[in-house]
Amino acid sequence: MPHWMERLDRRWIFLVMGLLVLLPLLFPLALPLVVSPRVQGFHDTVAKIPDGSTVLMSCDYDPGAIPELVPMTQTALRQLFDKNCKVVVTCLWNGGPGLVDNVVRSIAAEKGKQDGVDFVDLGFKEGREAVMVVMGQGIANAFPRDYQGKDTRSLPIMKTVRDYSSFPLLVSISAGYPGTKEWVQQVQARFHITMVAGVTAVSAPEYYPYLQSGQLQGLLGGMAGAAEYEKVRNEKGSATRGMDAQSMAHVFVAFCILAGNWVQWSKRKKEKA
C-alpha cells in the first residue's frame, strides 16, 4: 500500500483533472458517439413538424449552463431554420436574456434569417409560471414588446401567432426552475402541445417521469445529449469537441472512487493486522 496515496495533497488530483480535460481539447481523440433513443426522439420530433410552421422555443438558463445548453440551442435552431420554420424565442431566467439573444442572432445570421420575419426574440419576463399562463391567453399579452423594444403585435412573424395553439411544437431548453418541468405542467398538460426538451445533466433525472408518460417526446441531457444531437445533425459543435474531455473526466472520477476505496480498505486491513 503506497503510503503517499493516503496523504496525497489534493492539488495533485486537481492537476490531473485539469490536464485530463485540457489535453483532449487540444488533441482530440474523436471517440465515436452513440446516439441514445431520447436524443433521436428529440431530432425526429422536430423533423416531423410541417416545414415552414412557427415554433415556440423557451431558453430558460443563465451563463452557468452555457457549455451544456448553448450547443443544443444552436443545433435546434439550425434544424428549425433548415426546415424554414419560424422561431419565437422567450426567456424566463433573469440571468439569461442577453446570452440567449446572442445565440439566436448568431444562428439567424448564419442561416440568413430576418429578425421579426423568420424569428423573434421576445426577451425576458419575470413571473415564471404565470408568464406561461398569460401566454396561453395570447403570446403578445405576456410579451407586449420584444427584446429590442419593438411592438410585438406589429411584427410580421406574429401575424400567425396567437397563443399556444399556433405552435405545432414547443422546444424547452432549461437549466432548472422555471423550466421544462413548469412548461410540462402549465402548458403541455393543459394545451396538449407536442414538446421536446434539452436540459442540464444535473436536472435530467427529474424529467424521466415525463418521458415515460409521453409528455416529452425527446430529451437532450447535458453536454452528452448536445453532442449526440450534433452527431444526428452531422454538425461538429463545441459539445462534440468537449465529449472526449468529458469521457476522460468521468473515467478519472470513477478511478478516484475506486482508488480511494482501495486506499481506505488496505489501510483498514493494515490496522487490523
Binding site: R11, P67, N94, Q212, M223, R241, A245, H250, V253
Partner: protein, 227 residues
C-alpha cells in the same frame, strides 16, 4: 500562438484565471475576482428587477392610471379593475415595497412585516396548491400504470417502478418501528433511494465537468485562439 487582441476577452479570460487560481490556494487575485463577482451580480439583479418589474409592472400602469387610462384603454376610470389591469391599486405594492425599507431603521422595522406577510401568504398559498397539483396528484396519477402489459420486460419494469415507489414511500413512514414486513419494505425502499442518489451523483459530475470544459474551451478558442 496568436493572441486575441480584444480587451474584453482578455478581461474575461484573466478573471477566469483569477478564480481558477483558488485551486492552488486562496490568494488576493481570487479574493478580488470573488468580490467583484458578488458586487456585479448584486447590481445586475437590482437593475434587472428595476427595468423588468418595477417599471413595466408598476410604474407605467400607475402613470397611465393617473391619466384615467389602463392597460385596457377602452375602459376608463382610475379604479376600474379587471384581470391584469389594476390601475391605481398598483400603489398598494408600491407602498408595501417602500415599507420593506423600514428594516434599515431599527425602531419602525416591524412595519416591514406587513409586506413580508403579503409575500409569505401569496407564496404559501401558491406553493401549497402548486405542489398539490404538480408534484403530488400528478406524480401519483403518473404512477397508475398497468402492471401487466402483455410483454414480460415492460411488465417487469412497471412492477419495478411500482415496488420502488411504494417501498420508498414506506421508508419515510414514522408511525411504526421499521420491523418485520415494514422493516423489509423500507430496506428495499432505501436501496431504490440509493440507486436514485447514485444516478444523481453521476449526472452532477457530468454537469460540473461540462462547465469546466466550457471554461477551458473559452480560454483556448476565444482567448488563445487555438483550435
Amino acid at each position: 500562438m496568436n493572441l486575441g487582441s480584444d480587451l474584453s476577452i482578455w478581461i474575461a479570460a484573466l478573471l477566469t484565471l483569477c478564480i481558477f487560481s483558488f485551486l492552488y490556494r486562496d490568494n488576493p487575485l481570487y479574493k478580488f475576482a470573488e468580490h467583484l463577482f458578488v458586487g456585479v451580480s448584486a447590481g445586475y439583479y437590482i437593475v434587472l428587477n428595476f427595468w423588468t418589474v418595477i417599471i413595466p409592472n408598476m410604474w407605467v400602469p400607475l402613470e397611465r392610471a393617473f391619466e384615467g387610462r389602463g392597460v385596457n384603454a377602452a375602459r376608463t376610470g382610475a379604479f376600474a379593475v379587471e384581470l391584469g389591469d389594476y390601475r391605481i391599486w398598483l400603489a398598494v405594492p408600491g407602498i408595501l415595497g417602500v415599507l420593506l425599507f423600514t428594516r434599515l431603521f431599527g425602531r419602525i422595522g416591524w412595519l416591514s412585516r406587513w409586506s413580508l406577510a403579503v409575500i409569505i401568504g401569496v407564496y404559501a398559498g401558491i406553493k401549497t396548491t402548486g405542489f398539490a397539483q404538480g408534484d403530488f396528484v400528478a406524480q401519483v396519477q403518473g404512477s397508475l400504470i398497468p402492471l401487466w402489459t402483455g410483454n414480460i420486460v415492460s411488465s417487469l419494469n412497471a412492477i419495478v417502478l411500482t415496488v420502488g415507489l411504494v417501498t420508498s414511500l414506506l421508508f419515510f413512514f414514522y408511525s411504526r418501528e421499521h420491523k418485520g414486513a415494514l422493516g423489509m419494505a423500507s430496506r428495499i425502499g432505501v436501496y431504490f433511494l440509493m440507486v436514485g442518489f447514485g444516478a444523481g451523483y453521476g449526472y452532477t459530475v457530468m454537469s460540473r465537468v461540462s462547465l469546466l470544459i466550457g471554461r477551458l474551451q473559452f480560454l483556448l478558442e476565444k482567448w488563445l485562439q487555438i483550435g
